[in-house]
Each structure stands twice: as structure tokens, then as C-alpha cells.
Point group: C2
Chain length 188, copies 2
């Protein structure tokens, strides 16, 4: 069933992002994406359920990393420590993908429907973090707040990381973002 | 033109929310909303641009309150103090509207498109708060973080307020939410 294509997934992803940027997300078809790299529509659907999944397929991986890291945090960790560890554990997902992520964000910024989808994705991840904290015995309200604090910490760091043309250390940006947040909340 | 109708706006809003809950948002027409309270479509459009505006028309008012309160905060106020004052200033907008707001949230919860619109509304408000802080000379990054902290403080309080069948003091819930957040961030 179809011969093996070296890095078909990566090539399809790059072709999709290029086309979404050139023509717009709505105007691009799966056939065009596959043709751009000499593959078939059928090969595309082996890797992605649809053309939106090229942009949002990473959600499940992030969710698993967040939840499993919070579950594995030592009992002595505060809720915010556990959340900070989860954010840190997910950083390798982004490493070396700076240019692809920048392209992805540009595509999303150009399309209100994708922006809304992106916000929904963030809400789902935040809610999964809160759920993982509750499983550790953190009361619901505190769990939600710690999850939201983690979400904005990462959002601020991620937006900085994306806005820079050169790849910065996302881990350092995340720690800086959390330190700034702590200072602001402490009123210093 | 058209004779004056006492509280036409409020009656249309209530009828719209009732119909959105009974039939679903998509399935309800403006004609049906107007007919339910013996008014015309034309009267509806005097108050609302479309049926979504019944749900989201309050956004501009909140935005004005937030921005003007932050502008008016004393020079000595920290960014978070200014944001907390803005949240407090907007609370009268919700007072006495608990039942309507609960209905509104139930309608939004039942419709993914409206949920995404609601998230976009919150993002717009958060961004306006950050802009108002920057106008006070707060550096961009700190402004964004303080705005996001304000947004989650209010979101947590608002979700509690909506989830209770009886109307709680939203001002108290907001202060409690901020105090909890401070404790979590301080790691206590």
C-alpha cells in the first residue's frame, strides 16, 4: 500500500504551511499540498485527518506531556511548581521548529476562524492541566487558577519566542515570564 | 418612527435569550424574537445589529470602563492595582443581571461557535487593558502579563458567580480570586 516516502510527514507539513501562507488556508486543497511534494492525497490522509490537523495536530502530544508531568511531580511540589515543570517538559516539542512555528502562527493570525480554534486549543490544554492538578488533590478553584497562571506564563513566553526572527531559548523565556509574573503579582 | 415601546430593549433581550435556550441560537430568527414580545423586526434592529449582538453587545461598554479606569488610576498605582480597579469598576454592569447572565452563559456553552466568539471577546478586552497600561508607561511585556493576570482573576470569579443559582457578590468573589492567585503565585 504505497511505497515508503522518506519524511513524508515533514514534507507535507512544510508544503501545507507554504501554501497556507501563499494562498490562504481556505483556498488551499489537500490535493495541492500533496502535489507540491510529489505525493498523493492518500499519503496526506495517512498523516493528517484534514488540513486543519497540520496546524493543530500537536495538541494531543502537549496534553499528554502536561498531564503526565504533573502526575509525576513530587508530592512536595506546589501547584505552580508542578505546572512550571509541565511547561518545561513540553519545550523539546518546539525546539528546532522555530521557523515552522513562526509560519504556523502567521497562517493563524491571518484567519479569524483559525484564531478562534487556537484559543479553543489553549483552553483545552489549560483545562487538562487543571484536571491533572485536581487529581493530585489540589482544590478545584486553586487548580484552575494555577493552570491559568501556567497558561499565561507560557503564552507570554511563546509570543516573544515567535516574534523574534532568530530562535531564542524558549525555556529561558518561560522562566523569565514566570519571574516577571511573580513580580507583578507581588506588586514590585 | 414607530411608537415608543417601554423597555423594548430589555424585553427583546429576554425574549432572545429564552428562544436561544429553547430552540438553539442557530435556529432562532430575529422575526421570532420580535414576535415573542409583540414588536417588529425593525424595532429589534433599532437596538441590536444582529442576533449575536444580544449576547456580545456589552463588550464595548466593558472596554470603555476598563480603559478609562486604568487611565484614571493614580500614578502611584502598580499595574496590578490599576487592573484590579478596572475590574471593580465594571462590576455594576453585571449587578442585578445574574439570571440573564446565567441564561447567556448557558446559550454560549451549548454552541461551539459562540464559545469561540466569547473567547475572542475576552482576548480583545485583555488586549485593551494591556494597551491602557502601556499608555501609562508600563513596559509592553509587564503590561501584557498584568492584563492577563486581571483577565484570569475575573474569569475565575465570574465562572463562580455564574455557577451559583443565587446571586453572590461578584466584587467579593473577584477579590477572593485575586487573593487566591497571589497565594498560588507566592507558593503558599
Amino acid at each position: 500500500m504505497g511505497r515508503w516516502e522518506p519524511n513524508a510527514r515533514g514534507r507535507l507539513e512544510q508544503a501545507a504551511l507554504d501554501l497556507y501562507q501563499e494562498r490562504g488556508f481556505e483556498q488551499t486543497t489537500v490535493t495541492e499540498i500533496a502535489e507540491r511534494v510529489g505525493l498523493t492525497e492518500r499519503t496526506f490522509f495517512r498523516y493528517f485527518a484534514d488540513k486543519r490537523e497540520v496546524l493543530f495536530g500537536g495538541q494531543d502530544m502537549l496534553l499528554n506531556i502536561y498531564v503526565s508531568t504533573i502526575e509525576a511531580a513530587p508530592a512536595s511540589a506546589t501547584p505552580l511548581d508542578a505546572v512550571a515543570a509541565a511547561l518545561e517538559a513540553a519545550i523539546p516539542v518546539f525546539r528546532g521548529r522555530h521557523e515552522l512555528v513562526r509560519q504556523r502562527q502567521a497562517v493563524i493570525a491571518a484567519n479569524p476562524e483559525l484564531q478562534e480554534r487556537e484559543m479553543l486549543k489553549r483552553a483545552v490544554l489549560t483545562s487538562a492541566i487543571a484536571g491533572a492538578l485536581r487529581s493530585r488533590g489540589v482544590p478545584a478553584l486553586e487548580a484552575s487558577i494555577a493552570a491559568e497562571v501556567g497558561a499565561i506564563t507560557f503564552k507570554i513566553a511563546f509570543d516573544r519566542w515567535v516574534s523574534e526572527p532568530d530562535e531564542q531559548d524558549l525555556s529561558r523565556l518561560t522562566r523569565e515570564s514566570l519571574d516577571l509574573l511573580k513580580g507583578i503579582v507581588a506588586g514590585t
